[in-house]
């Protein structure tokens, strides 16, 4: 069974179908790209998948250890608990907090104490805090951000902010990551570093990754399969070469350039 099954998802806003009857599957361990011209409905689809929007029609099914879980019925935070996390098109870091704190918040579910423990600090409080602290630093080391652990998130250079967002999503313990335009605003050098980074974490952390991107160098280089959306519909899917030469895809992009 596939890890993720997107089953005839439609999302309407008023009279407009932002996403129209999209069905696709993602296998465990895959690195998949979602592309399409601006306004094609890519981020809307992500929002449906992560619970920010409820689909007008269709289902989103996650395979958790053999069990099929309907994600479209869950609120965003519960979807995250199922091992699904995301980054945002416009970076949504906790700006006033430190880099380390941003990561710690993603690990909130792993905390071993409740309100009583927090208020009195009796019991597992100190051990749990030390544990979270240690693991948060470990995550930061993986993204080469540990030396900036105590810097305020808003003071980070743009490229590092994007990396922090990815690290934060990883820190939730998610096995399925949705990255929304992770290379947006990056120069070719940064994009290349990010591309290698995504490939690396996918292997090291055993992740499944779906990413939205406009930067074709990134997409063509690392995505094993690519899905193409246009006007909310899935118009093509396949490997990089298949999609590159697909006449419908070319028309969608060229048509936009007019």
């Amino acid at each position: 069974m596939s890890l993720l099954k997107i089953d005839h998802i439609t999302k309407n806003f008023g009279g407009l179908a932002a996403v129209s009857n999209v069905s696709l599957t993602v296998e465990e361990g895959e690195l998949v790209g979602l592309i399409g011209p601006n306004g094609a409905g890519k981020t809307t689809l992500f929002n449906v998948l992560t619970g920010v929007y409820t689909p007008s029609e269709g289902k989103v099914l996650l395979n958790k250890n053999g069990k099929e879980i309907e994600l479209n019925k869950l609120p965003p935070y519960k979807i995250t608990h199922q091992g699904v996390a995301r980054t945002f098109q416009n970076i949504r870091l906790f700006k006033e907090l430190s880099v380390l704190e941003n990561v710690k918040i993603a690990m909130n579910e792993d905390v071993q104490y409740g309100l009583f423990g927090a208020l009195t600090r009796i019991g597992k409080f100190f051990k749990s805090e030390a544990d979270i602290d240690f693991r948060a630093h470990e995550f930061l080391k993986k993204v080469y951000l540990d030396d900036l652990a105590y810097a305020q998130a808003k003071n980070l250079p743009y490229g590092k902010q994007r990396q922090l967002e990815i690290a934060r999503a990883m820190a939730t313990g998610a096995k399925l990551l949705f990255l929304d335009e992770p290379a947006a605003g990056m120069n070719p050098h940064e994009t290349s570093a990010l591309t290698d980074f995504i490939a690396k974490i996918r292997l090291e952390m055993d992740l499944t990754i779906v990413l939205i991107e406009h930067d074709m160098s990134l997409v063509m280089k690392i995505c094993e399969r690519i899905f193409v959306l246009d006007y909310g519909k899935l118009i093509a899917q396949g490997t990089a070469d298949e999609v590159k030469n697909n006449p419908k895809v070319i028309e969608a992009y060229l048509g936009e350039e007019e």
Partner: protein, 323 residues
């Protein structure tokens, strides 16, 4: 245990103990007169109110304008119980009853209203505070508009000191825990917090109830300080007064709230003969702070006790010099 016995905590304890004994001496020997004593009690009560409100607004980002409503629940509970049991025990029972009622009411209120955002939440909580006040106004047991008087004035320095320290302890622990972090993330970016697995509704409700309980405790202490409780003491004006202190000290800074309460208590004292001028001044403070320095005195940062020298390092240096 060794986590607790660090330098910062030991210094804090020394400071608190010193403050306690100094003031205890000054008050019991009448060096601080009853008038100033009441000012100190006022400061203590408002510190507790401010800390609770700061957890709700400054740390979790939920603009609640009905805080005085919960204060009244504690005040009236205490007043009613003390009428038949005018002892310290009576106060604690009354306080306990107030806490239970506040927990119930804040839960019932919070669950639906915390789904609202920004302005709407503010007005809804305002409405809630007013509804509580109107209900109290119309009940027989609370004696309607006349309120309850002749409450035994049980307030003492040790009593207010203990509760202020307790409130500080609980608030700081709240903020510097995973729960506090979750709340702050909600204030920073609620959508991102949800995406990171935070059950935002749960934490908003927890923060709201926490603040309500502190307000209720402050209300009970108010009852035994001021001898009379009336509905008009717990209206929008009071909620706004607390808001002014919290904003001035810095939304999100607990030490800011404490400093601001002392400051405002002091200014209140100085401006006693010019009562209306005082309120105009505070209104202006609110506006000016919001326009020019919206982070208030301390922003969301806390006073660092690292200002005290590291004694260990001092000794090391000395040893090296000798050699």
């Amino acid at each position: 245990m060794k986590n607790v016995l660090n330098r910062k905590n030991i210094i804090s304890v020394i400071i608190l103990v010193t403050i306690f004994f100094v003031f205890n001496y000054l008050i019991s020997n009448r060096i601080i007169t009853p008038y100033y004593r009441t000012v100190i009690y006022w400061v203590g009560i408002y510190i507790i109110l401010g800390l609770g409100l700061n957890i709700i607004i400054g740390i979790t980002g939920q603009l609640s304008l009905g805080h005085a409503g919960f204060m009244s629940l504690g005040a009236y509970s205490a007043a009613i119980i003390l009428a038949t049991n005018p002892t310290l025990t009576g106060l604690f029972i009354g306080m306990g009853v107030g806490i239970l009622i506040s927990l119930a009411v804040s839960f019932v209120v919070a669950m639906p209203t915390l789904r609202l955002k920004g302005d709407y939440l503010a007005i809804a909580t305002l409405g809630v505070g007013e509804i509580i006040r109107i209900i109290i106004l119309s009940m027989k047991i609370t004696n309607g508009a006349s309120g309850i008087s002749n409450i035994k004035m049980l307030m003492t320095w040790p009593l207010i000191f203990s509760f202020v320290v307790l409130a500080m302890f609980l608030s700081i622990n709240f903020k510097k825990s995973a729960i506090g972090r979750a709340c702050i993330s909600i204030k920073e970016d609620e959508i991102a917090a949800e995406a990171m697995g935070i059950n935002t509704t749960k934490y908003k409700v927890i923060a709201f109830m926490f603040g309500a309980v502190l307000a209720s405790v402050a209300g009970s202490l108010f009852a035994v300080t001021y001898y009379v409780v009336k509905p008009e003491s717990f209206g929008v004006n009071t909620s706004i007064n607390i808001l002014i202190i919290v904003v001035f000290g810095g939304l999100g800074s607990l030490s800011g709230t404490i400093i601001a309460t002392f400051f405002i208590g002091f200014v209140n004292m100085m401006l006693q003969p010019y009562a209306e001028m005082r309120m105009i001044l505070y209104a202006l403070v609110l506006i000016i702070v919001m326009i020019f320095r919206p982070q208030g005195l301390m922003g969301s940062k806390e006073v660092a006790l690292n200002v005290f020298p590291d004694f260990k390092k001092l000794f090391k240096f000395r040893k090296e010099k000798k050699a």
